[in-house]
């Protein structure tokens, strides 16, 4: 699967990820700090994913 990250914008490839929650664990990211988006739709951590998916992990922390 392709994972789109921001700040800076970059893409990484992962295989064998079964659920959105596993994605956060694999990347050691805090799910509270991101919105997982697939094809323009929000996903929950329990949603199933496969190697063909493109998932954006959109950061939500901003300001200062």
């Amino acid at each position: 699967m392709k994972v789109v990250l921001r700040n800076p914008r970059r893409e990484i490839e992962l295989t064998g990820v079964k659920r959105v929650g596993d994605l956060f664990r694999r990347l050691d990211l805090v799910s509270e700090s991101y919105l997982p988006i697939r094809a323009g739709e929000l996903c929950t951590i329990e949603d199933a994913v496969d190697d063909e998916d493109v998932i954006e992990l959109r950061p939500v922390i901003s300001g200062g």
Partner: protein, 299 residues
């Protein structure tokens, strides 16, 4: 995962409320949280003239949309801070949002009206960029609210903003700032506008989700000047705690508002005078913004 209300497919989980929501019921939930906050803290009513600080980011645009849908008439003000393409893009997003909904957006341009940008001010004054930015925003928003006779200045600070700021102020036991960390700051005779924060019950992740679900096009990329910002680092730490203990951020903030803030009365607040140059309220002869402007224009 099913929606708590209708049992349709959920699109978001809100662990601190032990709830999952579909799109429609999440939007309803957010509207209810904001309406409850406005009501509980008596922030404003339908007769008040409201001015919202708009940045083009998720919080201010989501809040404008929420208040509009709750039936409040709110005008917006965007501050162009002169941060290159980031400011231009944010202005476009704010303008597009307002035009699509027939809302009134006023634009104030820091470089054009005051002769300097935030990056220039940060370099000349050796302040952190976010400090020069915050000072400029507070000054100009208050000035516009005062000049155009708005009753209330509405800010898009969310639960995470307030919890991280509280964390920062507690780490330093900054009693003066803790005394002012309230959902409503009343207007003062010296010229400070009434300031309110209707999003304090809504987490940052939830304002972002609301914006995505409502099709609001907002500035997703972080401000290039905010790299390494301390408050953002505190937010990340608090989110790690939140993941382990859902509700910890809300408990921290609302525990302080219910039981802590009363121990930090505003009684020792210094008497305010008018700035010799601009007439805005200040504790000294010349206000911090005019001093920042002078230092930057001299550089």
């Amino acid at each position: 995962m099913k929606c708590r209300v209708c049992r349709q497919r959920a699109v978001i989980q809100v662990k601190r409320h032990h709830a999952n929501f579909c799109k429609d019921h999440f939007i309803e939930h957010i509207h209810r949280q904001v309406a409850k906050t406005i009501d509980e803290y008596k922030m404003f009513d339908a007769a008040d003239r409201l001015l919202l600080g708009v940045s083009g980011g998720k919080d201010s645009l989501a809040l404008w949309n929420i208040l509009n849908e709750l039936g409040y008439a709110v005008d917006g003000v965007y501050l162009h801070l002169g941060i290159g393409d980031y400011s231009s893009e944010s202005l476009n997003l704010s303008t597009n949002f307002a035009e699509a909904r027939g809302l009134k957006l006023q634009v104030s341009d820091l470089p054009a009206e005051f002769g300097f940008s935030v990056p220039e001010a940060a370099a000349a004054s050796r302040r952190a960029p976010c400090s020069a930015c915050g000072l400029s925003k507070r000054y100009i928003l208050n000035q516009i609210a005062d000049e155009l006779s708005y009753d209330v200045l509405v800010m898009g600070h969310n639960l995470d903003d307030e919890a991280a700021t509280l964390f920062s102020n507690v780490l330093r036991w900054n009693a003066e700032y803790l005394a002012r960390q309230r959902p409503v700051l009343p207007a003062t005779n010296e010229g400070f506008a009434r300031k309110v924060k209707p999003l304090i019950r809504v987490a940052e992740r939830e304002t972002a989700a609301y914006a995505v679900l409502q099709g609001i096009d907002y500035e997703v990329d972080e401000c290039p000047m905010a790299a390494g910002n301390t408050i953002n680092r505190y937010k990340e730490w608090l989110n790690r705690l939140e993941e382990d203990s859902p509700g910890v951020k809300a408990g921290f903030l609302f525990g302080f508002l219910e039981r802590g803030v009363e121990h930090f009365p505003n009684a020792d607040r210094p008497t305010l005078d008018s700035c010799r140059f601009c007439g805005q309220p200040t504790t000294s002869d010349v206000c911090a913004f005019c001093r920042l402007q002078a230092v930057t224009l001299r550089a």
